[in-house]
């Protein structure tokens, strides 16, 4: 990663001095493909083929009408999902760690989600114009290609790569911040946590608990660090990219935490899964069933967040645990509080600083404890939790 980053930093002045404004997007597409080709030569024909196929499919979908448009959209999404599943399953067959669910091709998970979004937009009629040149630039844009943030096509396409000294300097700051988060904090936290997770019987319950809080921090520094690098590098080349994290560990409940964590991914799921599914169920069930509809929408969304990490049972368990907690917070907690607790206590919990601090602590603790299911398979994760409880 570092050689690529340094090359991108070194080439930035040349880019701004030499490349005419009208060619900048194409130059960035070519440079992104070259860099990805140096990492894995198979990516170049694959990405070009996917872009051409997607562009063709979008053209046909937009030109179709009514039911045919919906069927073509569904068929294209099915092909993209098949590519996602194959990439994950084949990657897992390579025998990598559960925490690194493995892929055959780098970046295919994000590519599939982005492509699925534009297919659904075209099928719904909210997007009509998808030139191949812009599709390619958006799909292969190197800063965001490997791990996001997932920029929407409309936002990316609406931008021109223009020089802005303040943005470029801000980008350099973000790159530095991202390096510190990902290569220092996440790295050293990981080096401390991994041996503890590998042999939980050798550690005390208190240390095992502490390691899970550290694990949540490690996930944050890792993901937020790479997001900072992507946002900073994009800014250096003249693009504003969506933010991915917004102080998730200051959230007072798990629903809020998920709205502030990996926001471009959760935003995608909200737009294309949660909202349409929940509303369809609400329309069918009427006002009496709206809570159940919201719960079903949350269950599907959080389960997909789990499966996003890989097609393994530990990720299913992770998704179900997150879903159960978010459904509790979003659908049932208010009523339960009203029925079971004194109104003054509910009000104190919601408005006092101590109530806020306790809420944050409970939220972070749940998020940290369940994080073990991201790092380890179901049985080792349960063994870890048993050891943590002194059993």
């Amino acid at each position: 990663m570092l050689p690529g980053l340094f090359a991108a930093l070194a080439l930035a002045p040349l880019y701004w001095l030499v490349v005419p404004a009208r060619w900048r997007r194409d130059v960035l597409s070519g440079a992104s493909l070259c860099a990805l080709g140096l990492y894995d030569a198979r990516l170049v024909p694959l990405l070009v083929a996917v872009t051409l196929a997607l562009g063709g499919a979008l053209h046909v979908i937009v030109a179709s009408d009514g039911r045919r448009r919906g069927a073509l959209g569904a068929a294209t999404v099915a092909l993209l999902v098949a590519l996602f599943v194959w990439n994950k399953q084949a990657g897992q067959a390579l025998g990598v760690l559960p925490s690194q669910s493995g892929v055959v091709f780098l970046g295919i998970s994000f590519l599939v989600l982005k492509a699925t979004g534009v297919v659904l937009d075209c099928a719904r009629g909210t997007l009509r114009d998808t030139p191949l040149r812009d599709l390619l630039a958006w799909l292969v844009f190197l800063p965001t290609y490997p791990s996001g943030p997932m920029e929407t096509f409309a936002h990316f396409r609406g931008q021109a790569s223009t020089w802005d000294r303040r943005r470029a300097l801000g980008g350099l700051e973000r790159i530095l911040l991202g390096l510190v988060k990902a290569l220092v904090f996440a790295h050293y936290l990981g080096a401390w946590i991994d041996p503890i997770v590998a042999a939980p019987e050798a550690a005390s319950p208190a240390l095992l608990l502490l390691a899970l809080y550290a694990l949540a921090l490690r996930f944050y520094f890792d993901l937020a660090g790479y997001s900072d690098l992507a946002i900073g590098l994009a800014a250096l080349y003249g693009y504003d990219i969506a933010e991915n994290f917004d102080r998730p560990f200051a959230a007072r409940n798990l629903a809020q935490l998920w709205q502030r964590w990996h926001m471009t991914l959760t935003g995608w799921l909200r737009t294309y899964v949660f909202t349409p599914l929940t509303r369809a169920l609400m329309r069918r069930s009427g006002a009496a069933g709206d809570r159940l509809a919201v719960a079903a929408g949350l269950l599907a969304t959080l389960l997909l967040i789990g499966l996003w990490h890989g097609l393994r049972w530990n990720f299913v368990v992770y998704g179900l645990l997150q879903a159960a907690a978010v459904i509790w917070v979003s659908v049932f907690a208010r009523d339960a509080g009203r029925r079971l607790l004194a109104p003054g206590l509910v009000r104190w919990w919601r408005t006092s600083r101590i109530g806020y601090a306790l809420s944050v602590w409970l939220t972070v603790t749940f998020f940290s404890l369940t994080g073990i299911f991201i790092l380890a398979d179901v049985m080792p994760a349960l063994r870890y939790l048993r050891a943590m409880c002194g059993l």
């Binding site: 719904r124 909210t126 629903a255 809020q256 709205q259 909200r270 737009t271 949660f274 909202t275 349409p276 929940t278 509303r279 609400m282 006002a287 709206d290 509809a293 919201v294 929408g297 949350l298 979003s330 659908v331 208010r334 009000r347």
Partner: protein, 85 residues
């Protein structure tokens, strides 16, 4: 489709926000509901369902966001634009 005056809709909307969304803070027509965290995405779904039921307007999925529903004033403007109030 139910017919309702803008004033009646505002009263029902405020009542919905207070009773169903538990918004106890001072609520004005310019209070940011989504960006201030008073309503989350689940609340938005229920708000959209309430507005559809109260006005008879169909609200597209893509429109359910803070851009349209962050304040009571925005909600009223959005519904007026769709002919719902």
């Amino acid at each position: 489709m139910q017919s309702m005056s803008p004033q009646a809709l505002r009263e029902q909307l405020i009542d919905f926000l207070r009773t169903q969304m538990d918004i106890e803070d001072d609520l004005t027509i310019d209070t940011p509901l989504v960006t201030n965290g008073l309503i989350d995405s689940v609340g938005l779904m229920r708000l959209a369902a309430f507005l559809e039921s109260a006005t008879g307007t169909t609200i597209p999925d893509a429109d359910i966001n803070a851009g349209h529903f962050d304040t009571i004033r925005q909600i009223e403007g959005y519904l007026a634009g769709r002919g719902g109030a």
